[in-house]
């Protein structure tokens, strides 16, 4: 059976991190630091989410002189909705797992 899109643990981690500050624009390195994802995992995820319309991006001038502009990311309304949905189901799964362990 094919796996549903955005079902990986890394996608959940990324969406959960984006959900923490849904309005603010953040750059790739900052997201990588926060989530612990390596750039090799992070960029394909950002590309996928952007393609699916779950993430918006823009360029901004750097604060530091002589440094190039940075690419910033922020979840779209659809992305936020999906992130909330996934976080809710993850919380539910965690509660169910805890109650199963307690019952056993």
């Amino acid at each position: 059976m094919p796996r549903p899109p955005n079902a990986s643990r890394q996608t959940h981690v990324l969406l959960a991190a984006l959900l923490e500050q849904p309005r603010s624009w953040r750059h790739g390195y900052e997201i990588a630091k926060q989530t612990g994802l390596k750039s090799g995992t992070l960029y394909p995820l950002l590309m996928r989410l952007s393609e699916q319309g779950l993430l918006q991006s823009r360029w901004t001038e750097s604060d530091q002189a002589g440094k190039p502009p940075r690419h910033l990311y922020r979840p779209t309304a659809a992305g936020l909705s999906l992130a909330r949905e996934l976080c809710a189901s993850a919380t539910l799964a965690a509660v169910q797992s805890k109650s199963l362990k307690a019952g056993a």
Binding site: P68, R70, H71
Partner: protein, 218 residues
Amino acid sequence: MNRLAWHRLLAQKLLRHAVALLPRNQSSWADAMRAEIQHIDDDREALSWALGSFRACLTERLRVLQPHISAHTLGALWIVVFVISSAYNMSIALAARLGYQRTTSALGWWMRDFQYDRFAHFADSIPIGLFLLMGLAVLLFAAALKLNLRSRPAAFATFCCALGASLAAWLYQLGIPAYLQAMSPPHLWRIGICFALTVSVLGALRFLAATQNSSVQR
């Protein structure tokens, strides 16, 4: 040059090659990766970031290739095999010709019954023109690979030229008596089978591509 600067330099070079792998319509992501590394102050971390970005670009390229797996991916893999084998053949023959016994023996360690003395005798009889032909084949294979990764139509023609140069080099070798003495008959058969297989695979790929194009036009 200190160690940290070396890390930074390698990271930048790696990223420059990595972004070349990405399809043109995703060039903004390539720019994003290149820009981001300039904002990482730690050189080691920059190198780690560049390695990850390289993996990301490669993943993305492979994902884009997936729908064309019958033509592009197989073609690219096939060319990789030829680039490696042609470069290897040229290296071992050149090392023997220049009298680097250790290098030649190291390159031939995996071959059963590899004897430096016999091989050096063969390598000595190789004319310079043949080395140039082998070098040309390697360059053409590499160019074909690059064109194939960029989905350029010239990739197939370049690969055919490379294959022609490689075949010419092989036929040229057959004219050298020392080659026939150095190589056992089963080895010659294997090379012949490899060429026949290549022609069949390429023919099949070409046929599939033509069939796909005609069905799209319809």
